[in-house]
Every structure is written in C-alpha cells, then in structure tokens.
C-alpha cells in the first residue's frame, strides 16, 4: 500500500516554496533529515570532493516500496502530511515533499531502498527524470546517492565553492543534526577517509566530546530547566572559559535546528555581569514546547520558526541559562541547586536562617572584656526565634576552614571545595549594590569624624559623574570647593569595610569612564564598588564570617562566578585526589 500521496495543489501553494538546494550541504541536510524521518538509528554519510562529486546517505530506516520510491521523486509527494492542518505541530523534518524532486532535478540520483531485508528497489534518475527502476536486494533502509550536483545547471555550478569550503558547510550541517539527534549513530567519510564517528550518545556532553573533544565538553555547563510548558536543555559555556575557544551556537526547537538571534540574545543576557562585555559564549540549547506553540513553516530551508508567543520562550531560555550558571556543578556543592529546584522559581530567594553579614565576632580578642558587650552572639540568640520559615529549607553550612587567608574550604560529598573569599564576597556585594541602585537607597552610617578626601582632577570628574549613584549607595558627600570631598556618611556592607579606601579606589577605577546608559552605569558602579569593598585575599576570617559569607553566596543568583566571570568556587573531586595518591 503506497504511503506517499501527491498533495492537492492548494496545500502545495500554502507551503513556502524556496530554494531547497543551494549547495552540497543542503543536499546532505535534506537526505539526512529524510533518513531521520524514516526512523533511522544509524546513518552513514559519504562525501567526495566536498560533495561536488558525490554524496551518499545510507540509513536503516523504514525504506520505501517500489511505488513510493518512484513517487518520492515527483514534486509535492510526501508521506508526512495530507492536508494543511497537519502542518500545525509537525514533528517530522520534512513536510513539503519537495526535497527529493528538487535535488533530483539538478543531479544524477540513485535511490536504493527496501522496506524489509531482502527484495528492494533501485531507481536511477537524472535531471529530474526517472531513467530506470530495477530490483535490488539489500537490507531494510534506504541509500540515496547524489552525484554530479548541478551538472545540468551551469549557473548554479559556477557558484559552488571549492571542495574545502563545501566540506566545511557539510560538517556544520551535520554538527547541527548530530546535536539535535544524539540518539542516532552517525558516521561521515570524506574522500574515503573517516571524518566523524559518532556513537549514539546518552547525554549532550558525550556527543559534544565525540564532536569536539573532551576538553571542549569540560568547558560547558549543563542546562536543564522547565518553565511552564517549555523545557530548555543543553550545554552552555562556563563564564571563565568564554573567549578561550571557538564560539559555537546551536539552537533546536522540538528537535529541529534553527537560527534565532532573539533566543541567542536571551541566553546571552543570562551571562550579564559574569563575562566582560563583548565576549560571546558557546550556547548549545534545545527547546521543547507544545507543537501548537511553534510554526515551523516560515523559512524555505526550515532554518527559522515562529513562536506564537515569543516572550515566555525567551524568558525561559534566559532563566534556564542563568540558573545553569548559578548552579554550576561547583555551585551545587554549596547547596544551591537543591535549594533552587525545590523552590522552583527564579526569584532571588530570601536567604534562609543563619545568614548574617560578615560579622566581626571572634576577631577582637574576645576576652572577658568584651564578654559583657552585647555581642553578635546575643543578637543571634535573639534572632533565633524567627518564625521557622516553611520554605526554603535551612541551608546547611558544612564545617569551614580558611586556607592561605584566601580560600574557604570544606568537604563535600564529591570532593573538596574551595571558595575564593574575595570573588565570592564581590559577587554578594555586587548583587546587593545592584539591588540598592535599582530599588532604592542603602542605609548610610553617619560618621562622628567625617572623612576628608583630596582628589585629582580626573577623580573629581568621576565623582561628579557618579555623585548621585554613590549617594544612593550610602556615601553622603559634600564637595568642598576645589577637589576636596567631605564624606559624612558611608555604607556599611560589612564590619571590615574601609569606606575611605573604597571610595578612593572606586573613583580611581571610574576615571575616564564614559558610560551613558543607566543600566550599564549601574552595573559598572556596582561592580567597581563591590570589588573595592569586598574583603581581600589575605584577610583572616573568623568562623562566623566564613559562615556568613557562605550563606550569603548561596543566596546570590550567580554564586559560581564573580563580576569578572572568574570562578568563585573550585572543586577538586575525590577521584582526582585518589588518582594522585595512587589509590586508583
């Protein structure tokens, strides 16, 4: 029973016509997609001379009976849809029934196919005309060979590039397919030499490692998130690696590789404040959403889709990537991931019990002299009967130690973990300052003895330009003629804060800076002040301070990275240690 039927012309007209066959890579794409539509689990691709001489795609899919095999070469013959409404929510790559006829019309095509092992059909065609139909015994599946592409279309022939460049385009095309369908085994040979061997992969990471090597895979962070009906999965580059290698972009919607600058922008927005402006991350993302929410038929090569409602999709992408960066494997070790997934939303969560600022208990010789003073200990004791928050669950803080007066270290199930105290604190303060700049004024502690600062001309200019924002952050400053400032009140982000030095360093860092836009200026200022205000490497921290920092870091939206994109958390796995000790 033939499965292919010629579409009524009304349907045919509804389907966007277009240049299906542009170059060898488009032939590869169409043939491979047909193989996937046929349910192939293994596809072998052989290319000669960059595809200019020959392209052969063999699959172990459903195959075709003889009638279908012949019909497949005629225009708008498809087994995949019958009427226009089938297009809504289409799950297959093909639906127009125009790829094979289009390819066939500009090449010599040889189709060998069998719906079951044994008796099959061979159809030979050239320039769109079937030349012969014969028996061919073969295994279930289809092998289509396209040779002498554009041999009868001299205008197109002229536009083909050299073999290298066509080959590169084919590799790009196949990369997209390989990422979209990780379950399928794919092999590729070029001029007889094996170029890619991709076994079926259980994870994105495994497929990426097979494509680009294990090192490339290690630079990527898992994304896996659900927002309403939208699921976002994949891998994105961890911020500290952005800019260190080739940038790659892969986007798929319902398994179909697409281009979509809007989604790329949304994913990039999630990197805000973790990487320097201008650097662009590798993004490999696959979205799954109800078929009725996407229209795939807007582009001749099906490279674009239209979303019924684009906004929630972009938001889902941004949120998923942001959470992935925030909850990188490393961050998971400070308990962030489980906490977030339990909350199931992306609101900056109120920090659970046990979170205080960096406090100074235990640092000033806490002898009996100070025992009488109302210590933080007492305030904490008072603070304890806070109504037990139903959610989020209290953050468990493991025993912490400080190494090199720089790293806060602790043991985790999977290894030992180090937090860079400066980077971590910088992240905490950055988010706090951004909140202050965007939402309102920060508390300012008035000073008994106002600070006097003498500035150079450049610093004065930086001060004038940022005066209002500095004020919002809690610096109350009077210009005192010339380049002298009187500071009457200062923010107190933590007890060791040195406002004078912070202000000086900040103004110094802001000199010559011309940032017009509000948000960018906020970010720059918050980042600068955070960097200058954060505790430094080399400062001994008390246990309470370490615990407070740990908790505050866990409460940030992007705990794993500081504002420069450097890692705040590094983990050394037990397996690594065991390897070094020769235990395995």
């Amino acid at each position: 029973m033939p499965r292919i039927s010629v579409l009524p012309s009304a349907v045919a007209d509804q389907i966007a016509a277009g240049e299906v066959v542009e170059r060898p890579a488009s032939v590869v794409k169409e043939l491979v997609e047909n193989a996937l539509d046929a349910g192939a689990t293994s596809i072998d691709i052989a290319v000669d001379d960059g595809g200019r001489a020959r392209i052969r795609v063999s699959d172990d899919g459903s195959g075709m009976d003889r009638e279908d095999a012949v019909l497949a070469l005629s225009r708008h013959a498809t087994s995949k849809i019958r009427k226009a409404s089938d297009l809504v929510g289409i799950g297959s790559f093909g639906f127009r029934g125009e790829a094979l006829p289009a390819i066939c019309s500009v090449s010599r095509m040889d189709v060998e196919t069998a719906p079951a092992d044994g008796a099959g059909t061979r159809v030979e065609a050239a320039a769109g005309t079937v030349a012969s139909v014969s028996d061919a015994a073969r295994r279930r599946g289809t092998t289509i060979t396209v040779s002498s592409l554009f041999y009868n279309a001299p205008a197109r022939l002229k536009f083909m590039r050299g073999a290298r460049s066509e080959w590169r385009a084919i590799v790009d095309t196949l990369t997209l397919v390989a990422l979209a369908r990780r379950d399928v085994r794919i092999t590729v040979t070029h001029d007889g030499a094996p170029a890619l061997t991709l076994p079926p992969a259980s994870s994105w990471r495994a497929r990426v490692a097979a494509l680009w090597g294990a090192a490339a895979a290690e630079k990527l962070v898992d994304v896996d998130d659900v927002a309403g009906p939208i699921r976002v999965e994949g891998l994105v580059e961890s911020p500290q690696d952005v800019g260190t290698g080739t940038r790659r972009i892969f986007l798929a919607v319902n398994g179909r590789a697409i281009r979509d600058p809007g989604l790329v922008r949304a994913a990039e927005a999630a990197y805000r404040s973790t990487i320097p402006a201008g650097l662009r991350p590798t993004l490999l993302l696959s979205l799954t959403l109800p078929g009725s929410d996407v229209d795939v038929n807007v582009h001749p090569a099906k490279a674009e889709v239209r979303f019924r409602d684009r906004w929630p999709v972009e938001r889902a992408v941004e949120g998923a990537v942001r959470r992935a960066l925030g909850t990188m494997d490393a961050a998971a070790t400070i308990g962030v991931r489980s906490w977030w997934s339990e909350r199931g939303d992306d609101l900056p969560a109120p920090v659970p019990l046990g979170v205080e600022s960096l406090r100074d208990t235990g640092r000033a010789e806490p002898g009996p002299l100070f025992a009488e003073a109302v210590g933080v200990a007492e305030l904490e004791a008072v603070a304890d009967p806070r109504p037990p928050a139903p959610d989020p669950p209290p953050l468990e803080i493991p025993p912490l130690t400080q190494w090199r007066r720089t790293y806060i270290c602790f043991e985790h199930e999977q290894g030992m973990v180090l937090i860079d105290q400066h980077s971590a604190h910088e992240r905490v303060l950055f988010e706090r300052f951004m909140g202050v700049l965007e939402r309102g004024e920060s508390p300012a502690q008035r000073l008994l003895f106002p600070l006097t600062l003498h500035l150079g001309p450049a610093e004065s200019e930086a001060f004038d330009a940022n005066r209002e924002l500095l004020e919002r952050l809690g610096f109350e400053i009077e210009g005192f003629g010339g380049h002298t400032l009187i500071v009457r009140a200062v923010p107190m982000p933590h007890p060791r804060f040195d406002p004078e030095r912070c202000l000086r360093d900040t103004l110094d860092a802001l000199t010559g800076d011309r940032l017009a836009s509000g948000a960018a200026r906020h970010e720059k200022l918050a980042a600068t002040v955070a960097c200058k205000a954060a505790i430094k490497a080399g400062e001994a921290l008390s246990l309470d301070e370490m615990r407070a920092l740990f908790a505050a870091l866990a409460g940030t939206t992007l705990p794993a990275h500081d504002v420069h994109g450097r890692a705040t958390i590094v983990r050394i796995g037990w397996d690594e240690l065991e390897r070094r000790f020769g235990r395995r």
Binding site: S357, L369, R446, L447
Partner: protein, 370 residues
C-alpha cells in the same frame, strides 16, 4: 637555679602570666615563660612583644638563676601536680627538672638570653591610680574601640590623665564611649596615652580593685606596677581625633526611658532588622517612643514604649546593636537620651547616677529611607 615552691603559688603565678603568652608565634622563645629567682622568691614573665606581664611569687631559693620553660606544658603540669611542694632545678642553660611528691619531670627549655628584654621604664616618676578606678573606666569604654585596621589610632583607648581627674574615650567612628573619674592629684604632669585594649584587659584582670598602681611611661611603652606584678604595653602613636568637638552641646530633645524596657524593645526589633546594619527607626513624640523596622525579603515589626520626652517630635534611625551594646554599660535603671536632628549625634547617659564618675556615650544615626 634551684628553688622550692608550693603547688598553689606556682599555679597562681602561672595563671597571671599565661594570658600574655601568644597562642601562635614565629619566635619559639615567646611560647616560654621566663623563670628567674629574686630575693624573695621567683619571678615569672611572659610576653607576645605587644604586652608583657611579670609577677613575683614567694619561693625558697637555694641557688639563683634563670631559664625559660615551655609555658603550655608547665601550666599543664602544674595543674596535675599532687598537693605537695614543688622542687624546680635547672641544669645547664636548657634543662630543667621538676619534682613533686614522687612525680618527676624533665623539660627542655631555652636559655634566658633568648628571652626579649622588657621595655625600660623608670617608675621613679609615676602616676598613682587606684586599680578599681581604672577598672571602672576600662569596662565602660574599651568595648567601643574600633577593630578595623584602617584607622589604627581608633584601635586604642584614649586615656587622659589630668591633675584632678582621668578619663578614657573609645570610638570606632560610629559610636563613642567616654568616662571620667576624679583622682587625687599626684603632682604628675598631664598626659594623653593611647593604649591597646588588650593591655587594658590584662590590667583589669590582674590587679585587685583596692590595689594602688604605679604607672610610668617609657619611650613608646607604658608600665603598670603593683608590689608584685607588672604589665608593660606598647602605646599607639597619636594624635587621637578631637572627640570634644563631636560631642553635641545643643541637643534639645530629651528622652528618659526605662533601661530594661528599652533594651527588650530594641531586642525585639533586632529580630527583624537587617543583618548588615541592624537598622531600626525610632519615632519620639510626647510620652511615647515608637519603634519600627522593615527589612526587604524578611518583614517588618513595630513596638512602642512610654518615655518621658521633651522637645519637638523626631524620627531617627539607628544601628540597634550599637544602642543595645551601650545600654549594657549604663549603670542606672533609667537612661537619658538626647537628640538634635536625624543626622546628628545622639547621646546616652545614666539618669540620676549618684557617682562621682561621669559617663557619656554617643551614637551616630543611620540614614532613614522612606
């Protein structure tokens, strides 16, 4: 060196000196206690180079001499000794034996020459102060010192000695505590000393309240001495900021409140106050103080307290922990607070204190956000 001492005397002497031994040091001899014989007994000394403590205890000296002994081990041994006289003898520069009952210890010490010499201070010219007065000043002011390294001067307590009174002032730039007591003139010149609080804590701990102390100054050091015990400390170089200038003279709003009730109200508000700034708002109106606190992501709280208030109504923000801290040291049941404006310093003082001492604390407000 050979002497015999009671177990109790040895323990007492070690306890006095032990606190001056640094827990960690790069100079090994600082982990040791210097033991020297004197005419009446022995002298034990320890130092961390900032502070030095030395105390004399009675003992029967057979042969004079000196040696340094690991402080921690010596204290641990002294604690475990049976109730019997302790015989200590050194052989050579580094070896020391200790016998008590049938217990016998041999320890490896370090030669006395390695022990740093104490600052040379001439007690011929000295102030004389009753230890109890000094303790009172220390315990009411030293809490307010800064622990930040950015302004080292504020890490010390200012001690002003005048012919007829002495005064201590400490501040971290946000709040300040000041106390003065009258003294009998000693005929000594006035002096302004900036003393590390760690040393003051030793003073407070080591000398009984009724003892009269001799206090004398070396080049960068200060010495405190009673007949048996001496403490030396490094001084912090001045000048101390002009605190007189920031003490408000024109605060025209006065609130008098019950200290205990105010303390509990503040503690209640602190539960909700932000962890960084402990910011609370206080609104004073005739007869009433209203407290409120609002912390994003957490919640808010309000409370009220009857107070005696005179002056125009006022809204002012504070770090609650600064207020609570000061209230702990206010010696009376009622506290007197004065204000001028939401951005000006507030004062806290004891109300109706029948004591020759004068005590005043200042707190700078926090900016309120509406």
């Amino acid at each position: 060196m050979r002497f015999t001492i009671t177990r109790e005397k040895l323990q007492e002497g070690l306890a006095a000196v032990a606190a001056s031994i640094p827990a960690k040091t790069t100079l090994p001899v600082l982990a040791n206690i210097l033991v020297e014989t004197t005419e009446k007994g022995i002298r034990l000394s320890g130092t961390d180079l900032d502070i030095a403590v030395s105390t004399e205890i009675s003992a029967d000296v057979e042969t004079g001499g000196a040696i340094t002994i690991p402080a921690k081990k010596l204290s641990e041994i002294a604690r475990e000794l049976p109730p019997a006289p302790v015989r200590v003898a050194s052989s050579g520069e580094q070896r020391v034996t200790l016998d008590c009952g049938r217990a016998h210890f041999r320890l490896l010490g370090l030669p006395r020459d390695e022990f740093p010499s104490f600052p040379s201070i001439k007690f011929s010219e000295s102030w004389r102060v009753r230890s109890g007065e000094l303790q009172k000043l220390i315990s009411h002011t030293a809490f307010a010192v800064s622990t930040e390294e950015s302004r080292p001067i504020l890490n010390g307590v200012l001690w002003e000695l005048r012919p007829d009174m002495m005064r201590m002032v400490a501040t971290n730039g946000h709040r300040l505590a000041k106390m003065q007591v009258p003294i009998k003139s000693s005929g000594m010149p006035s002096a302004d000393l900036i003393v590390p609080p760690k040393a003051l804590e030793q003073i407070r701990r080591l000398f009984p309240a009724d003892e009269e102390l001799e206090i004398a100054r070396g080049e960068n050091h200060l010495g405190f001495r009673s007949p048996f015990t001496a403490v030396y400390t490094r001084l912090i170089e001045g000048p101390y900021p002009n605190y007189e200038q920031v003490i408000p003279k024109d605060n025209d709003k006065v609130a008098i409140a019950d200290k205990a009730a105010l303390t509990s109200a503040l503690k209640r508000m602190s539960v909700i106050a932000s962890d960084q700034t402990h910011r609370i708002r206080m609104s004073f109106n005739a007869g009433m103080a209203k407290f409120s606190v609002q912390t994003p992501d957490l919640g808010d709280a309000q409370d009220e307290l009857a107070v005696r208030f005179t002056g125009d109504p006022l809204d002012i923000g504070f770090n609650a922990s600064y207020l609570l801290e000061i209230l702990r040291f206010i010696p009376t049941d009622e506290v007197r607070m004065t204000f001028r404006a939401p951005e000006r310093a507030a004062t806290l003082e004891p109300e109706q204190w029948s004591d020759p001492a004068q005590y005043l604390c200042l707190v700078m407000p926090l900016r309120l956000v509406d």
